[in-house]
Symmetry: C2
Subunit: 518 residues, 2 copies
């Protein structure tokens, strides 16, 4: 017998289906009191949800649903190391690297910090005796999107704090040869350290790009001995890539942390420590650990992670909104939505429950986003006046990272940035009437706002853990396994089938045809 219920087997589900029949009108109820009440402060983050389409009655049902779906029981089971990734028979341990008892992951963190000190201190140098100034991460998916988004998120902060970024980072992910060729055109081989990241040590794109880079280096005169001074590995112990002959150092990850949740493991740790310093990565982990702790609070009115998760379920399964925009008002977070797109869509884009039974309700929405104010000048027309309602989660900060600003036309750039953010929230919530229908804004378009003092490493860690935990909680509520990704397997098999064909003049079309000729 199944221990856990599907969403639509719960009592709260049916009550929420009733509740949604009484629409919430923000134009009538939004005021300072609601803004003050519908605010959760989980330091270092603040969460304002007064402009969501909910009321106290609905929040009570969220609480009931969270209890029926045993969200905290499941979270504790996961934290205590139970096999919660049932499909792959694995634990889910990405919280461990940021908890107090890190075990295996803590040892790797120490190795990373020691190695970083040797690189930054000049103890380890390139083959020609020059210190390293660049690090290139070769990896794809979770080994690329998360680390890359986090690198961009802290690049400006470290520049302002230290006067320079210790090692500039670049990334090679795509098997498109134009990716590797172009990145290689920008580096100096003598001063570049390559990090090769693949848990299995068998990822097609990553192995291809590794050999591509090595071939390039050899063409430029580097010997095998030289190469061994320029490559480090982040991989599973005993994987085909775990080979001290070929790598200056190896840092280990294991099967209990999935790619999209691996930014706080060595997958993110090596590149971020090398680029910024190990202490920056440690602050980042501490911020993540803080939010992991705060996410344990069972009272939804005190737990922004739980609240945001339930609001997402409400918007998806009851209000029937099929996509969600995440809009950071911070240029540093320009690729953060792309990382969350993977984290969310790959985790919760599912149609079977944890017992491999078909479910009949919607799961994860389409996640997309670009930084504000840029996004206002892009797709916000649709968010204000399009035929679908698209909920938005805004992210904002009280301070910039590079605290150099200018008062122009009566306000600083930062004040302008945040004035725009607030104006969007109000415009979407309250709308505007007009005799000309083209100038009518319907209002009641829901948003929420996460804000913090400043995008520091600590705050970034908190933000990342917040989103990871929202995704996990939503998986608990949908009764799905957020930690496997069977949906990517078929493509891999068919790719091999195509590559076993003999080449033709017009490969794309001929390759398509090849599936139908025997």
């Amino acid at each position: 017998m199944n221990k856990y219920l599907n969403l639509d087997q719960t009592k709260a589900y049916n009550l929420l289906k009733e509740a949604v029949k009484k629409p919430i009108n923000l134009k009538e109820i939004l005021d300072v009191k609601r803004l003050r009440n519908y605010l959760i402060q989980n330091q270092p983050l603040n969460f304002s949800y007064a402009t969501c389409l909910i009321n106290d009655e609905i929040i009570d049902l969220f609480q009931a649903l969270s209890e029926e779906q045993k969200v905290m029981e499941k979270y504790n089971a996961l934290l205590s190391g139970e096999i919660v990734n049932i499909g792959e028979n694995r634990k889910v341990l990405h919280h461990q690297p940021r908890s107090k008892s890190k075990g295996f992951y803590g040892e790797e963190q120490e190795k990373i910090a020691e190695f970083t000190a040797k690189i930054h201190g000049g103890e380890l140098k390139g083959f020609s005796g020059k210190p390293f100034d660049t690090v290139v991460q070769i990896g794809i998916g979770g080994s690329d999107l998360g680390p890359r988004a986090l690198y961009y998120a802290l690049e400006r902060y470290v520049l302002a704090k230290k006067g320079k970024v210790p090692l500039n980072a670049q990334f090679i992910a795509n098997v498109d040869p134009d990716d590797a060729n172009f990145q290689l055109s920008k580096i100096n081989l003598e001063t570049t350290l390559f990090i090769v990241v693949s848990k299995s040590g068998t990822t097609q794109e990553t192995l291809t790009n590794l050999e591509f880079v090595k071939n390039f280096a050899k063409k430029h005169g580097m010997t095998d001995q030289d190469l061994a001074k320029h490559f480090i590995a982040v991989t599973g112990k005993g994987s085909p890539m775990d080979d001290p002959q070929q790598y200056l150092a190896s840092f280990y990850i294991d099967d209990n942390i999935g790619g999209r949740f691996s930014s706080t493991s060595a997958v993110g740790g090596v590149v971020l420590s090398l680029a910024f310093g190990a202490e920056i990565f440690r602050e980042f982990l501490d911020g993540a650990g803080q939010m992991d702790e705060l996410a344990k609070e069972p009272n939804i009115r005190k737990n922004m992670t739980l609240m945001s998760a339930l609001i997402g379920v409400w918007e998806r399964n009851f209000l029937n909104f099929s996509s969600k925009a995440i809009i950071p008002y911070s240029e540093a977070l320009l690729r953060f939505p792309a990382h969350l797109q993977q984290a969310d869509c790959e985790s919760n884009g599912k149609t079977v429950n944890i017992y491999f039974e078909r479910i009949d309700y919607q799961t994860g929405p389409v996640i997309f986003g670009e930084p504000g104010t840029n996004a206002q000048h892009s797709f916000f027309q649709k968010l204000h006046q399009g035929s679908d309602v698209i909920p938005i989660q805004f992210i904002g900060f009280q301070k910039s990272q590079i605290e150099n600003d200018l008062n122009l036309f009566g306000s600083t750039s930062l004040e302008k940035l945040n004035a725009n953010l607030v104006a969007q929230i109000i415009a979407l919530a309250l709308g505007q009437d007009n005799d000309n229908l083209n100038k009518v804004f319907s209002g009641n378009r829901p948003t929420s706002l996460i804000f913090a003092d400043k995008l520091t490493p600590y705050v970034l860690g908190a933000l990342l853990a917040f989103y990871e935990n929202v995704i996990m909680f939503q998986g608990f509520i949908w009764n799905i396994n957020s930690f496997d990704q069977e949906g990517v397997q078929l493509g891999k098999i068919l790719t091999k089938q195509v590559l076993s064909n003999t080449g033709e003049k017009n490969p794309v079309l001929e390759n398509l045809y090849s599936f139908f000729r025997v």
Copy 2:
């Protein structure tokens, strides 16, 4: 009386509503014959739509709908300079810069080419006498996303062709001071030319960043005289920015080209010509002009632009799919989906028809995308097994831009890239059965494929015009005005209101409260 019909007033609409009741099963009908038949070659582009959920009967109805909605009549009216942007009482002339009779836009192109020659030839130099090596575009929305996406799209091509990119381009868009500060930290003022782009000459973000940059330059010792050698303007004639005292040169745009359609005007022309050479920009325009011509074909089976537009309407209004992914298998196109997101969502995210009457059907979907193969390792789980069907348009090329490749493990990187592309199409169309429901792929997830020989400037122009014209055709079919953006106005007004407040300790929250205190 209204001259043009709403979509749901047409006969074809009702027939398509009937047709959608008989589902298409690709698993039964997809074969080489269908692949060969459902292929349109509009050189330099090819369009394969065999894996869309359509058949001959439905295509006949597409043809009928196109005729009922007078798509070609509207296109011709637009091309001949009628006031088709009724809301703003403007012509829509973005096709002119790439047509044979360019008029005003042709004169600007000549000015740009002459100016570029002076910069590239060293006739014009920086204040300290050094030749320019960097160009920074200051602009937002259509003055940023399109030019930036196109710059990235051709950077590798020009590098391979010329050995180097004549001037490296950077972009400052966001009013977030971390954007300008960070970009400025990377440049050498002596060798940098700034392009300031704003049609009205009043865009808040752009004027702020212009002054921000000037202030930075003065702090670094540049005089007003020096500054005048480093700034050029792209703006409307007579705008507040049209000031020869402050700018080394001015290039004009006008109100008949909207921001999101301005990449082929001086908005894209100045930066792309300076970065790559005027002849590269001209090739790009020629490719766009070619597709504009081919889009005039009224027979849908010969016109990929019209076919793609109708397939989009079918997927949106009849199959009820609310989003669409655009996935280029080309790293060079990494920001092309972000540009198309603006172009589509800002144009067709509407709920009133051209007569300002409310319409009761869905318009433009959420557009999103990342390059493949990266996207496979990100959100493709959801595309294969998620609870919603999300149509995908793939873009692929027979050759890479930097034609340096390596045969590894039996295939080149390019062959691997394109094998992945084809495998995704097949996996999504045909799916896979399995006793374990977690390994089941439903199939019948629709895709289409645009492919070309190589991403040259000509092909890029063709691709851009294809998408612009698809968006335009869909607007014609929905009977909406794709050329205004009233939905962005309210936010601007409310931003001013916030900025007129006096500052408080905690601006974000206090600013939210300020809307409710009198």
